[in-house]
């Protein structure tokens, strides 16, 4: 079909078509609706619309119940009956359970004082060990044998005796020197810069080419060798040769057997020596074991086991230098605080794992 001729938009017809009649239509719709439902509700007062239902309508309740889902017999059987005791999955011994209950009761008796009174009494203002007689103390495992406060050697006194001071000083110096030597003897760190000129792109190209040509030559050589090997392999084995091989093999096994027999007889001859050897070995093993045990105990006395990523590093000993000793408390030089000492002690005893503090 052909296109409809487009009419002019400037005419009256076009105007009429564009006028919307929605509001009028809406009004009509509403009025008809109202007429059907019996008057609009918006104008009515609240009293006429709502009222308080004071009657007890049982019927509604019944209705609701009726609508509720029925409990199936299967489910009702499974529901808990208060008159029937549950069968435990595993029987526990009656005595123990009573004891446990008692313990729990006791604990409850013992502990609640503090939390209950917490709101009233400030912490620390009551005797929490008032009824300690009833509580059994559990065996608490200690992290290490190192005491919490280690008293320093007599040489670390502020006014030490000469000999003990020399000794402590020597120890401190040894510690320092050990660090120095470790630094010196350890592997050199990787340098940040390498001396020499940078390689140009062109040069690099040439280098690569050289390498490549070398590789080609190698490949050729290998292939030639392979050819030769193959030619050897294809040689035929004659009957004579096979026989010869069998004979040689036979002879070898015989010889080996004879040797074995001889060896055994020899060993029987020197049995006491072997027994002694075994005993010796045993003793050595035992000794090694003891040595290890001792070494481990010694190690645990001075340092904790490896507990984490970082290794424990003991703090250096605090000793006065020889020229710093003057016998006066007033002139005592201030050392670093005990904060570090305490922290190291905690690490040393294995209560916390060694941490790496932030570095500047």
């Amino acid at each position: 079909m052909g296109k409809k001729a487009k009419s002019s938009r400037k005419g009256k017809k076009a105007w009429r078509a564009n006028i919307s009649t929605e509001d009028i239509e809406d009004f009509f719709e509403k009025s008809t609706k109202d007429a059907h439902s019996g008057g609009s509700l918006s104008q009515l007062p609240n009293d006429s619309l709502f009222y308080v239902d004071s009657s007890k309508d049982l019927s509604v309740k019944r209705k609701i119940e009726k609508h509720r889902q029925k409990v199936l017999r299967v489910d009702s059987v499974l529901q808990k009956n208060p008159f029937i005791q549950a069968v435990p999955s595993s029987k526990s011994k009656p005595k123990k359970s009573i004891k446990k209950q008692k313990d729990i009761l006791k604990e409850k008796d013992a502990t609640p004082d503090c939390p209950k009174d917490d709101s009233v009494i400030a912490s620390g203002m009551l005797d929490i060990w008032a009824n300690e007689g009833d509580i059994k103390s559990k065996k608490v495992s200690k992290p290490s044998v190192i005491p919490a406060v280690e008293v320093e050697a007599p040489g670390c006194s502020f006014n030490p005796a000469y000999e003990s001071h020399q000794e402590s000083l020597a120890q401190a110096v040894a510690e320092e020197m050990q660090k120095v030597y470790q630094n010196e003897l350890g592997p050199e760190p990787v340098p940040f810069t390498v001396p020499g000129n940078a390689i140009d792109d062109e040069d690099r190209y040439f280098l690569e080419v050289d390498n490549a040509s070398d590789d080609d030559g190698n490949v050729e050589n290998i292939s030639e060798n392979a050819h030769e090997n193959r030619s050897i392999k294809t040689k035929r084995v004659t009957r004579v040769e096979l026989n010869k091989r069998a004979r040689v093999k036979d002879l070898q096994t015989k010889k080996a057997k004879a040797r074995k027999v001889e060896e055994v007889s020899k060993q029987i001859d020197c049995l006491p020596d072997i027994i002694q050897e075994i005993a010796k070995e045993d003793e050595e093993n035992k000794k090694r074991h003891i040595r290890r045990l001792v070494a481990k105990q010694e190690r645990l006395k001075v340092r904790p086991p490896r507990l984490g990523r970082h290794k424990f590093e003991p703090a250096p000993t605090q000793v006065l230098l020889s020229e710093e000793i003057n016998g006066s408390l007033r002139k005592l030089k201030g050392c670093s605080t005990l904060a570090k000492d305490r922290f190291k002690s905690l690490e040393k005893r294995g209560i916390i794992y060694p941490m790496k503090g932030k570095r500047k």
Binding site: A110, T111, C114, S123, G124, M125, L126, D127, I128, W129, E132, S137, K138, V140, P147, A148, V149, V151, E152, A153, P154, C156, S157, F158, N159, P160, A161, E163, E167, I290, L293, V294, Q297, P305, L307, G308, R309, Q318, V319, G327, S328, L329, R330, L332, G334, S336, T337, L338, A339, K340, D341, R342, F343, K344, S345, I352, M355, G357, K358, K360
Partner: protein, 590 residues
């Protein structure tokens, strides 16, 4: 197939089942690292070293039991709640709502550790046994400066100060201090409470610099939190054991002049007198009255009052050590100069029964008091000198206390380099090496035991020389006694040896009776033969006891032996060195 392949349904076994790494524990507990660390510290849980580290050497391992122990503790929930609360604060801060942040911080929920204290220390004695670390930590933080950067609050520093002073006051009051050692690091004290030896370390009263690099202050502060609670409970119990009300009410004037220790001792005195006089009346009321009274009391009278009360104080159930310590500095009055470390001396001198005063406000008596017997100074020269008293360096007090004998003051006079300060924590006998000064002290002690002390009424000035003379006399006498004893010992040893030889001979004679008759030459041979035999027997018996020991014990025994040998070698070395030094000195003199 990997080395440790485990079929899908199979349970874990061995170390992998018994231990968990820290990250596993974090996942299990649903906490972050910081919170976990805190929890562990509160509950006293520490990392372990499993025999086989299933995740490698660079992990930290915990007992799975410990982790589940943490999981069931209510403190975990509290800590979580607190961390969420703190999130609110950070949010308020981020929104620049200063007021809200401040008010939130003020209303922060406080976490009580009381339950944990009793859980970890079900008996009082357990708490006492573990008091070393708490005391040291509290004393340390009492001396630290409060800084914002390290989150060390002023309130906590004050609390630490209070707790440490309370503890010191108790120890001083009950005379339980035993040893003091001043090292470069700080001052070590040892007290004996309830039969337990408690050692703690206090910093010197110098300026405290906080090391920045190696110390994680969060951890220390968490420890401190627990220790503060513990020490408060311990102090409470201890104070009540001597019938003193615990949160002590202090004289604000003394507190202001930083003499809390003295204030506490006065509080003790007041309290004990109080309990004597008015037990029936309401305690609190009288307490208040007393506190008011103390305000009005002039400081001069207090000293005399203290003495009066001390005489009347309960002297029941005290062991010998305490009695000795109580009467050690009796009838002595000390005065501390300005430059002397006041805190430690104010603690030590009253702990050994002395009276002490200092230069400053609130002191019980002033410098001009005629009854002062010792003035403690630490300066090169003393300007004005009272003839009635002796001027000594502070080290004298500590040395006297350690030696349990009033040492002659000559070596400790003003301006002199005092004799070495020896460590009382070293048992010289066990170590094998005895320094010179320790020997002289020992001799003096022996002398004092044998002889009656010189008359205390004699003039102090001319007492010095006769004292030293007497001391020398005692020394020579004790030397003679020692020599005699040594001789006697040698004699007995020799006698024993002879007896043993005789018995052995008899045995051999009876066994080889027939051969004995035949020829004397053979008899000689037999004797020679038996001698090594006996040695072997001795060896065998030693070996037998060794064999009977369990493997672990044997290892320990061997370790002990090695240690002894090492010690001996060390002592020998020291002696040799000393000899060399002496020789060097002699040659120099010549």
């Amino acid at each position: 197939m990997p080395k440790h392949y485990r079929p899908a349904g199979k349970k874990k076994e061995g170390n992998a089942a018994r231990y968990s790494t820290r990250s596993q524990a974090l996942k299990l507990l649903q906490v972050n690292t910081k919170l976990f660390r805190k929890l562990c510290i509160y509950k006293g849980i520490f990392p372990r070293e499993p025999k086989k580290k299933f995740k490698g050497n660079h992990h930290t391992y915990y007992h799975l039991k410990d982790v589940s122990f943490l999981r069931h503790d209510p403190i975990l929930e509290e800590l979580r709640a607190k961390s969420t609360y703190l999130k609110k604060v950070t949010k308020a801060k981020a929104k620049k709502n200063r007021e809200l942040a401040d008010s939130l911080l003020k209303r922060q929920p406080e976490i009580k550790l009381d339950r944990l204290v009793i859980e970890r220390y079900p008996h009082f004695i357990d708490a006492i046994r573990d008091l070393d670390d708490p005391l040291t930590m509290v004393h340390l933080f009492a001396a630290l400066p409060a800084t914002d950067r390290m989150k060390i609050e002023v309130k906590r520093v004050h609390n630490c100060r209070k707790l440490s002073h309370e503890w010191q006051a108790y120890i001083a009051r009950t005379h339980k201090l035993r040893k003091v050692f001043i090292s470069v690091k700080g001052i070590y004290y040892q007290a004996e409470v309830e039969g337990q030896k408690i050692t703690w370390l206090t910093p010197h009263g110098l300026q405290q610099v906080l090391p920045d690099d190696d110390v994680v202050y969060d951890v220390l502060l968490t420890f401190l939190e627990f220790y503060e609670t513990l020490l408060a409970f311990v102090n409470f119990k201890l104070y009540h054991s001597i019938n003193v009300k615990y949160p002590p009410i202090l004289d604000p004037k003394l507190e202001a002049s930083a003499a809390e220790l003295y204030a506490l001792s006065r509080y003790f005195d007041a309290n004990s007198r109080n309990s004597d006089q008015v037990e029936e009346t309401q305690l609190e009321e009288s307490e208040l009255r007393l506190a008011q009274l103390q305000h009005q009391l002039p400081s001069n009278e207090a000293g005399a009052l203290m003495q009066l009360v001390k005489g009347a104080a309960d002297e029941n159930e005290e062991d010998e050590g305490t009695k000795e310590c109580k009467n050690f500095f009796k009838n002595m009055k000390f005065f501390l100069s300005r430059e002397v470390p006041r805190e430690s001396l104010l603690f030590v001198i009253p702990a050994f029964g002395g009276l002490v005063s200092w230069e400053g406000e609130g002191a019980p008596f002033n410098e001009a008091d005629q009854s002062i017997t010792h003035q403690i100074v630490d300066r090169p020269t003393q300007g004005h000198i009272y003839l009635s008293r002796e001027y000594v360096q502070p080290q004298w007090v500590f040395d006297c206390v350690n030696a349990r004998i009033i040492l002659p003051t000559e070596a400790y006079l003003v301006g002199r380099v005092p004799p070495p300060h020896l460590s009382p924590f070293i048992d010289n006998e066990e170590e094998g090496y005895v320094p010179d000064y320790a020997e002289t002290i020992k001799r003096l002690k022996a002398a004092a035991k044998n002889e009656i002390l010189p008359m205390p009424g004699a003039g102090v000035e001319d007492l010095d020389d006769p004292q030293t003379l007497l001391a020398e006399g005692y020394i020579s006498r004790t030397e003679a006694i020692e020599a005699a004893e040594r001789k006697q010992k040698m004699m007995t040893l020799e006698k024993q040896y002879h007896d043993e030889l005789k018995i052995e001979l008899q045995v051999t004679q009876s066994s080889a009776f027939d051969t004995n008759k035949q020829s004397p030459g053979e008899d000689m041979e037999a004797r020679e033969e038996t001698l090594p035999d006996i040695q072997q027997i001795a060896n065998d018996t030693a070996n037998m006891s060794k064999v009977l020991m369990s493997r672990k014990k044997r290892g320990l025994y061997e370790a002990m032996k090695k240690g002894q040998e090492k010690k001996k070698a060390h002592v020998d070395l020291l002696k040799e060195r000393k000899k060399k030094i002496d020789e060097g000195k002699k040659s120099k003199k010549n």
